[in-house]
C-alpha cells in the first residue's frame, strides 16, 4: 500500500464526512463560504483588483474612500482595495505554507515520539514543552532575529511557533490509539511498525490534527500580520495586510482607512476560520480528543 494513496484515501473520507457536515449548519456555511470566496479572490487577484497594487499616484495620495478608489488610497496614492485583495494572497499563502510545514513536521515528530517512546520521546517532548509555554509572537521574534526579516523567515518563524501544538496533539492521539484492541491485534498478526503507523494509526489520528491545522491558519494570519506590522515580514512594495497597516500608522490621522480596512480583512478572515473550525469540531465530534493534548 502506497503511503500517498493511503493518505489520500483517509483525507477523502475526512472531507466527505466532515466538511459537508460543517457546511450544513448556518454559521458553517457563512464562514466556510466566506473562506472559499477569499481563496478565490486571492487566486484571481490580478483579474479582480481594480488597480495594480504598486501603481502610485502622488496627486491622489491619502484620498478618502470614493469612486473609483472604493477603500481610498494610501500615502503613495495606491489603491487600498487592490492592495487588500493582493494582500490576501500574501497572508493566506504565507500562513497556509507555514502551517503546512508545521503540521507535517509536528505529525512526524509526534507520531514517532508516541509510537516508539523511550529516550526519543523524552527528548522530543522536552523540547516541545519548552516552546509550548512561550507566546507565539515571542517564538516568532526569536526566529526572525536568527533568519533576518522577510517573508521566507516569517514563514519558518510561524511554522516553528506552532510546531509544539501539532507534535503534542499527534503524540496524544497515537498514544491513545496504541492501546486499542485492533492495534494490538495488528501487532500480534506480525505487521511491521511502518505498516501499523501509516496504515492504522495515522488515518485514525489525522482528523483532530487537520482541524487544529485549519484553526492554526487563523493564528498564522494574525502572526504574519503582526510581524508585517513590525516591518519584519513582507518588504515593500509587496502588499501584506500587516505591512499595509505598518506604513499606515504614520498617516493615522490623515487617512485612517489605510489601517482600518486591512485590519478588518484580518479580523473577518480569522473569525471565519475560527467559526468554521468550531463547526468542524462539532461535525467530527472530536472536542474530547482535542482536550486530551
Amino acid at each position: 500500500m502506497k503511503v500517498s494513496g493511503m493518505a489520500a484515501r483517509s483525507l477523502d473520507a475526512f472531507a466527505r464526512m466532515s466538511i459537508g457536515r460543517a457546511f450544513a449548519s448556518g454559521v458553517g456555511m457563512v464562514a466556510g463560504g466566506f473562506l472559499v470566496l477569499l481563496v478565490l479572490v486571492a487566486v484571481f487577484a490580478p483579474w479582480i483588483a481594480p488597480f495594480d497594487y504598486a501603481d502610485q499616484n502622488l496627486m491622489n495620495a491619502n484620498a478618502a474612500p470614493a469612486w473609483p478608489h472604493l477603500l481610498g488610497t494610501d500615502e503613495f496614492g495606491r489603491d487600498v482595495l487592490s492592495r487588500v485583495i493582493y494582500g490576501a494572497r500574501t497572508s493566506l499563502s504565507v500562513s497556509a505554507t507555514a502551517i503546512g510545514i508545521s503540521m507535517a513536521a509536528g505529525m512526524t515528530l509526534g507520531a514517532a515520539a508516541g509510537y516508539f517512546g523511550g529516550m526519543f520521546e523524552r527528548v522530543v517532548m522536552t523540547v516541545v514543552d519548552l516552546t509550548w509555554s512561550f507566546p507565539d509572537i515571542l517564538l516568532a521574534l526569536i526566529f526572525v532575529a536568527i533568519l533576518g526579516p522577510g517573508l521566507t523567515s516569517t514563514t519558518f518563524a510561524i511554522a516553528i511557533a506552532y510546531l509544539a501544538q501539532f507534535t503534542r496533539l499527534t503524540r496524544a492521539q497515537i498514544v491513545r490509539l496504541k492501546r486499542e484492541t485492533f492495534i494490538e491485534a495488528t501487532i500480534n498478526l506480525g505487521a511491521k511498525p511502518s505498516h501499523i503507523l501509516l496504515k492504522h494509526l495515522m488515518p485514525n489520528a489525522i482528523a483532530p490534527v487537520i482541524v487544529v491545522g485549519i484553526l492554526a491558519i487563523g493564528d498564522g494570519i494574525v502572526l504574519e500580520a503582526t510581524l508585517g506590522f513590525f516591518g519584519l515580514g513582507a518588504q515593500p512594495p509587496t502588499p501584506s495586510w500587516g505591512a499595509m497597516m505598518s506604513s499606515g500608522t504614520a498617516q493615522l490621522f490623515l487617512s485612517p482607512w489605510v489601517i482600518i480596512f486591512p485590519g478588518v480583512a484580518v479580523a473577518v478572515t480569522v473569525i471565519a476560520v475560527n467559526l468554521f473550525g468550531d463547526e468542524l469540531i462539532r461535525a467530527l465530534d472530536i472536542r474530547d480528543r482535542l482536550r486530551g493534548a
Binding site: 522536552t126 523540547v127 519548552l130 509555554s133 512561550f134 507566546p135 507565539d136 509572537i137 515571542l138 521574534l141 526569536i142 526572525v144 532575529a145 536568527i146 533568519l147 533576518g148 526579516p149 487563523g218 494574525v222 500580520a225 503582526t226 506590522f229 513590525f230 516591518g231 519584519l232 500587516g242 497597516m245 500608522t249 493615522l252 490621522f253 485612517p256 489601517i259 482600518i260 485590519g263 484580518v266 479580523a267 480569522v270 473569525i271 475560527n274 467559526l275
Partner: protein, 309 residues
Amino acid sequence: MILRYTLQRLMMLIPVSFAISVVIFMIVYLLPGDPIDNLLRVGSSAEDRAALIARYGLDRPLLVQYFVWVGNMFQGEFGEAIVLRRPVADLVVQNLPYSLTLGGLAFLFSSIVGMALGAISAVVRNPVLDRFVRGFILLGSTVPGFWLALLLILFFSVNLGWFPVSGAGGWKALVLPVLTIGFGGVALVARVTRVALLDAGREDFVTLLHAKGLSSGTILFRHLMPHALLPVVTILALRIGWILGGAVTVEFVFGRPGLGSLLIRSLGQRDYPVVQACLLMLALAVMLGTLIGDVAQASMDPRIREKKS
C-alpha cells in the same frame, strides 16, 4: 510540602533555561555577515584582524564562548549596544519598569474585570448576556492586538481626545495600552469563571447551604468563589505569557518605552546584543510567570502536588 514542590519546579527550569540561552546565544552566530568585518578599518592587515578576533574571544571554541557569555549574563554584563552605543544593562534597567507596570496592570485588569463579568453572567444567566460574552471572547482571541490598539487610538485619542496618542507620561497614557492587552484576557477569564461557578453550584454541598438558610450572596462569595478560583488561577497563569507577548506589540504601537519596544526597534536596527538581552529577559519572565502559576495552583489544590511529586 509546597516548598518541596516549588524547589522541584525550579529544578525543572534549569534544562529549560539552558536550552533557551543556547538558542538566544546562537542568534549572533547564525547571522549572515561577520561582526569583525564591521569593526576593522579599511586596509587593516591580517594580524589586526587576528588581534581583534582574539580580543573578543572569537578564536576560542564555541562552547567556551557560550560559557563566557552566560557567565557575563549572570553578572549583568550584557555588553555594549552597537547602535545606541550604551551598555545594554542600562537600557534593560531603564525599560524594565515600564513593561512591568504595563503587564502587571493588564493582568490585574483582566483578572478583576473578567471574574466580575463571569460571576455576573453565572448569577444572572441571561442568554443575551451569554451571547455577548461569547462574541467578546471570539473577538478578543482573534483580533490582532496592534490593530485593536490603533482603533482605540483613533477613537479615544484622535476623535475624543481623552487619552494621549503615545508616550508614557502619567496614568492617562496607561489606559489604552492596558485595555488593549486586557481585552482578550477579560473575556477568557469571564468564561472560565462562569463555567467554574456553574459547575460548583451543582455540587451537593451548595444544596445543603441553601437548606441551612444561608443567603445567596453568602453562598456565592464565601463558598462558591473559593471553589471556582482554581480553574481561574490556572487560566491566569497561562495568560502571563500572553500578556507579555501582547505587551511587546502594544508598547511598540503606543510608542511606550519598555522591553518590547526596545526589542522590536533593535531587531529593525540589527542591534543584536540588545536583542539577545531583551529576548533573555522576556523568556525569563515567561518562565517565572509559569512557575508562579504552577505553585499557586499547587498550593490551592493538593491533588496537583501529589501527582507531580
